[in-house]
Structures are given as structure tokens and as C-alpha cells.
């Protein structure tokens, strides 16, 4: 893949050839293997995949929040015009929170349990702006209003454990917005929430993105959530992107057998009396250390042939489309009508 093909002009975040290595005496293992993607301002890219696909590692690597035991390699990472391919600690501190900020899955463990909402918000605000405590408090209130927390001034004095799951996630979002970032990395932000609350949080994220023109990298395992929030999607399997493109295109006409399998494995609006059987994907996702030499999906793939066992299929952009695919024997579009 040529660099220019993967990076639409004016991309807010452009990542090329990102790998994450688990260092091991018997040889390094690539938990994430040569992943490339880009996010434009005002756009949401969803990274979807099952556990172990490397989605969260990818986001943590961008924030440089990975433990030292994991190595990060990249051909190129640029964020808002700034080169972050091999950033110093100082470089990353300058952008973390103020250019890109992260929303975590579990706000209870991401928030400090012994500090009030106000203390945490004010701390986050004053990290990025030199303003007085009084002004910071006003800004904190403004942020809580922005994430639609009712009776915001009363909430400032609360501790995280006193808040409901949905409120905690709103506080997390407020904290992420404290440094006025341009890019939000959202790692399964609604997975721990109930359906009704998760819907509210997704709506909030969509609104904030539209109003503030944010770019968003949205990590999830839930295809339904992808449909509801994302413009483009990258499907990851065992540390690699296997297919990417616009959400409508990829979901209506999946070409990688894994993408198609994921979609087919979900119930499709049948009732039990219809006797419809879900299509299974046999086996399980391989751990990175035991990844087969060729295509990682080959052992579970019904379309696999000899070449799939030998060579890793590269992610190739289809001419004239925004679609990329890493498969030697993809489904033809007509086959999936």
C-alpha cells in the first residue's frame, strides 16, 4: 500500500505501519502487526474486532500508555500535522489530553475514587490552561453542562462511586474534553452500560463530535454500535486490519470472509419458530504467538486455499474505491446479494 493512498488529504491522524511487539526471549511476538489507518476531522473511524484483535493496544500505543514491556514500531504517525512517529516523553505530554484524549471503557477504574468530580476536572483543566481555580471551576461546570449532566453544580462535589455508570461515563467524557482535544480515542465507551444508557452516551458523543468537529477513533466489538456511530470501519483480526471502508459499504457488501462471518454470526431478525440457524465461525481467534504463517484467519476460513497458508495477504486498496481488503480469495460483491 502506498502511503498517499491511505492518507486522505488533511487527515487529522495518520498512522502507517504500526506494530506492537511483546518482547520475549524466544523472539518478539507482534500483537499488532503493520496496521495503517487515518482519521479526518469530524469523522469517526470504528475499529471493530473480537477480543485479542489488538484494538485497545492500538489506541493505547497512540497515547503511549502501553507498559514498557511492549515495544511500539511505526513507519509514520502524524497527528494534526505533528510527527509522532517516535515521540519523546515531552512531545507526547504536549499532545496527550490537548490534541488527543481517551475515553476508557470502565470509568470507575479510570477516575480517581478519592477525589471529587470537581478536583479531577479542575486538575485536568489546569494541566492544559493557565487559569485561576475559580475560572477552572466555571469551566468544569461548563464541561458538565456540555455532557448534559443535570444539576451540574451539585455533581461537582460528588465522588465517582456516588454516580451511576452513565453519569460516570459522562464525567469521563467531560475530562477528555477538558484540554479541548481535536481527536477522541474512545475504547468501548458504552460496553459496560445498559442499552438505554449506552444509547444516550452514543448520541452525546455524536453530538459533541458534530458540534466541536472532533475526529474520533472508536473501538468496539459491537457491530451495531459501529453502524450507529461510525463513518468508516476497519475490521481487525488477530492484530491485523483485514478489511476497511465506509460502514455502509463494508456491512452491506463484506468481502473478507471474516467480516462476512461476523455479520452472519449475529441474529438477523428471525424468530425461534423460523428455525433459522446462526452461522458459526468454527474455532477461536489464535493468540499472537500461535498465529499461522499465512493469513491469520485461514484455519477458520471456508474459502482458504494453499496460498493462504503460506503468505500473509497484504491490505490492498481497491482501485477507485475507499475500500481496502487483505484477502486472496474474497467474496465477490454479487455473491452477497
Amino acid at each position: 500500500m502506498t502511503p498517499s493512498a491511505s492518507a486522505p488529504k488533511g487527515a487529522l491522524l495518520d498512522v502507517e505501519g504500526l506494530s506492537i511487539l511483546i518482547k520475549d526471549k524466544r523472539g518478539d511476538v507482534r500483537a499488532v502487526d503493520d496496521v495503517s489507518f487515518s482519521v479526518a476531522a469530524g469523522e469517526t473511524l470504528a475499529i471493530v474486532g473480537e477480543s485479542g484483535a489488538g484494538k485497545s493496544l492500538t489506541a493505547l500505543a497512540l497515547m503511549r500508555l502501553l507498559p514498557k514491556t511492549l515495544g511500539v514500531e511505526a513507519k509514520r504517525i502524524t497527528l494534526a500535522g505533528q510527527d509522532l512517529t517516535s515521540p519523546s516523553e515531552l512531545d507526547i505530554r504536549k499532545v496527550r489530553g490537548s490534541v488527543m484524549a481517551m475515553i476508557f471503557q470502565d470509568p470507575l477504574s479510570a477516575l480517581n475514587p478519592v477525589l471529587t468530580v470537581e478536583r479531577q476536572l479542575v486538575e485536568a483543566i489546569r494541566l492544559h490552561e493557565t487559569i485561576s481555580r475559580t475560572d477552572a471551576r466555571a469551566r468544569a461546570l461548563e464541561l458538565l453542562d456540555m455532557v448534559r449532566i443535570p444539576a451540574a453544580s451539585a455533581r461537582l462535589g460528588e465522588y465517582p462511586h456516588r454516580l451511576s455508570g452513565g453519569m460516570r461515563q459522562r464525567v469521563m467524557i467531560a475530562m477528555a474534553l477538558a484540554g479541548r482535544p481535536k481527536l477522541i480515542l474512545a475504547d468501548e465507551p458504552t460496553t459496560a452500560l445498559d442499552v438505554t444508557i449506552s444509547g444516550q452516551i452514543l448520541d452525546l458523543l455524536k453530538e459533541l463530535q458534530r458540534d466541536l468537529g472532533l475526529g474520533m477513533l472508536f473501538i468496539t466489538h459491537d457491530l451495531h454500535v459501529v453502524r450507529s456511530v461510525a463513518h468508516r470501519v476497519a475490521v481487525m483480526y488477530s492484530g491485523r486490519v483485514v478489511e476497511s471502508g465506509s460502514v455502509a459499504d463494508v456491512f452491506e457488501r463484506p468481502r473478507h470472509p471474516y467480516t462476512e462471518g461476523l455479520i452472519q454470526a449475529r441474529p438477523h431478525g428471525s424468530f425461534v419458530t423460523d428455525g433459522h440457524r446462526l452461522r458459526e465461525i468454527a474455532g477461536t481467534v489464535p493468540v499472537p504467538a500461535a498465529r499461522p504463517p499465512g493469513c491469520a484467519f485461514e484455519p477458520r476460513c471456508v474459502r482458504a486455499e494453499a496460498d493462504c497458508r503460506q503468505v500473509v495477504p497484504p491490505l490492498v486498496r481497491e482501485a477507485g474505491t475507499p475500500r481496502s481488503l487483505a484477502c486472496f480469495h474474497p467474496l465477490q460483491q454479487e455473491q452477497y446479494a
Binding site: M167, T273, E280
Partner: protein, 323 residues
């Protein structure tokens, strides 16, 4: 014919420091042999408390459980315990980490003193083979299995005592999508082979729709809507059911069959539930009567029952939208 499982006015209370929570505030259900009742609701609505009370893990404050018309002691012991088994959400937390796969499946058999040792070993092997755990894995410990394999072991354990009724509490929520399909297919196959009755709890509406003959919706300890899966799906009548389906991505169908219901707030304090209709504090359609009178489950035909003072307004005008 009496139903396979009948729950009568079950009440489950939890005592907390700040007062008594009525987790289940009078729930009655009937399940036929071979039938799946899907139970949906938010966390804190009491669905797990109900499930645990039916299995005998909680002692209900009041209410009766009948199996094939026979009353059973809620703290079932001995042979009675065999009829109802449970499949848990987290197979890691529900399997003893120090027992091998084979021991785990043998355990219920030895607890109930079924067969001699050789017979138990043979039964466990057959069960594990049935759920798709190969012989090479029989001596492994739970941490050496994948999530899907652990759930298969959990299912084999539940099946070991040849139950009539299986309570499935979020059995696939912790699993990856590709593995969910495997486990759902297995559960449905077992149901067909053994005419099992399932109470299937899930927050995933699509999964509930896929497995259920009937669907029940629970809110703050009470059933607000129950009926045949197709009826509830094509014409959700309770505002709460409509809100759930709307957020689950079925906004168009909800719009076609009556008022849209957007929930802005969260579940009220269960220590002090609202008067009248428990949903009224979050219901955009609530009127005066909702604060005063507790709505009873009213039949709208075909066993589709709804507890809402206003459901009649859209039940008559709307035509079921076929999804």
C-alpha cells in the same frame, strides 16, 4: 395440563444498610415444556434476582414455584434441585479453578450420588462430547480454556442432572460474536433434543428475539410487558419496551406503531420506587393516573399482556409492523 414451570407472585427482598430493596416485587410467570421465555431489562431491574430465586440461590420472601403442577420448596434440596439448573454469565467465575474439566462435569453427579464412579466418568465424557469439548481437553483446568470452551463446560455441568428447566443468565454476553453463535446454536439444539424449558435472560434484544418463543420485559422488579415474541416485537405496547427497541436500533418500527419514547434519565432509586406505575418518572407519556394507580397486566389478545394505563390508545390504532 399444568405448565412445566409456574412462578406465582414471587417477591424477593434484599436487605441493605439503607433499607429493603424489593428486587422482585410480585412476578408471576408460566413456562411450557420446550419453551423459551426471554427476559429483558436494565441492570438493577431484578432479572438476576428472579433467576437466582427460581434456581434456589436466593430465598424468596414469598411466592410459589411449581414444576409440572407440583409445589416445590424454594430452598430445594436433594432430588428437587435436579429439575432446575442454571447457566451463568461468567463461566470463569462459576467454575472451580482447581478442578479439571472432567471433574467439574462429574461433580453434580457425585453430589447427587448418581451411578457409580465408572458410570459417572462415562456420563461426563458423553456430556463433554455432546457440548463439543474434545477428549484432549478433559484434564485441563478452566484457565487453560477459551471463554467459549468454558461456557460449554458450564453448559455440560448444567445438563449433567438432566434438568427440565434451565435458567440461562446472560449466557453469551461475555463471549465474542463468533463464539456466541456456537453457544446459542448448542443451547437451541439441546433444547430440541431434551424438550428443555429455558428462562433466557439477556440485555441483547436481538439475541432474545432469536431464541425466545415469548418475551417478558421487566422494570424495577415487575413485569411490564409479556407476550409471544412476534407480537411483542412487531407491536411493542409498553413505553419502556418501545424505548428499549428504539435504542436498540429499531427506531423506524417503533415510529410506525405508535409514540416514540426517548429515555433521558436513569433508573430511579430502587429503595424508594415511584408510586403508581414504576416507570412513570422516566416515561414521557405519563399522565396523572400513572402516579396514582398501579397498572395491572392487561391482555391485548394472543397472550400479549401489558401493564400501562395508556397502552390501549396506540394498541387499537397501530397495526403490527412486520420486521
Amino acid at each position: 395440563m399444568s405448565p412445566r414451570l409456574q412462578i406465582d407472585e414471587m417477591v424477593v427482598e434484599h436487605r441493605t444498610k439503607r433499607g429493603v430493596v424489593h428486587a422482585v416485587a410480585g412476578v408471576s410467570l408460566e413456562l411450557a415444556a420446550g419453551e423459551t421465555l426471554g427476559l429483558v431489562g436494565e441492570s438493577g431491574c431484578g432479572k438476576s434476582s428472579l433467576a437466582r430465586a427460581i434456581v434456589g440461590l436466593n430465598t424468596p420472601k414469598s411466592g410459589a414455584i411449581r414444576i409440572d403442577g407440583r409445589a416445590t420448596d424454594p430452598r430445594r434440596r436433594g432430588a428437587q434441585a435436579r429439575d432446575i439448573q442454571m447457566v451463568f454469565q461468567d463461566p470463569y467465575g462459576s467454575l472451580n479453578p482447581r478442578m479439571s474439566v472432567r471433574e467439574l462435569v462429574e461433580e453434580p453427579l457425585s453430589v447427587h450420588r448418581l451411578g457409580n464412579r465408572a458410570e459417572r466418568v462415562a456420563t461426563a465424557k458423553a456430556l463433554l462430547e455432546r457440548v463439543g469439548i474434545s477428549a484432549a481437553m478433559h484434564d485441563r483446568l478452566p484457565h487453560q480454556l477459551s471463554g467459549g470452551q468454558r461456557q460449554r463446560v458450564g453448559i455440560a455441568r448444567a445438563m449433567a442432572l438432566e434438568p427440565k428447566i434451565v435458567i440461562c443468565d446472560e449466557p453469551v454476553s461475555a463471549l465474542d460474536v463468533s463464539v456466541q453463535a456456537q453457544v446459542l446454536n448448542l443451547l437451541l439444539d439441546l433444547q430440541k433434543e431434551q424438550e428443555l424449558t429455558f428462562l433466557f435472560i439477556s440485555h441483547d434484544l436481538e439475541v432474545v428475539r432469536y431464541v425466545s418463543h415469548r418475551i417478558a420485559v421487566m422494570y424495577l422488579g415487575v413485569i411490564v410487558e409479556i407476550g409471544p415474541a412476534e407480537g411483542v416485537w412487531s407491536l411493542p405496547l409498553h413505553p419502556y419496551t418501545r424505548a428499549l427497541m428504539q435504542t436498540a436500533g429499531d427506531a423506524e418500527r417503533v415510529a410506525a406503531t405508535g409514540p416514540m419514547v426517548t429515555l433521558s434519565s436513569e433508573l430511579p432509586n430502587p429503595l424508594n420506587p415511584p408510586s403508581g406505575c414504576r416507570f412513570r418518572t422516566r416515561c414521557p407519556l405519563a399522565i396523572e393516573v400513572c402516579a396514582r394507580d398501579v397498572p395491572a397486566l392487561e391482555d391485548f389478545g394472543d397472550g400479549h399482556r401489558v401493564a400501562c394505563h395508556r397502552a390501549g390508545e396506540w394498541a387499537s390504532t397501530a397495526t403490527p409492523a412486520h420486521a
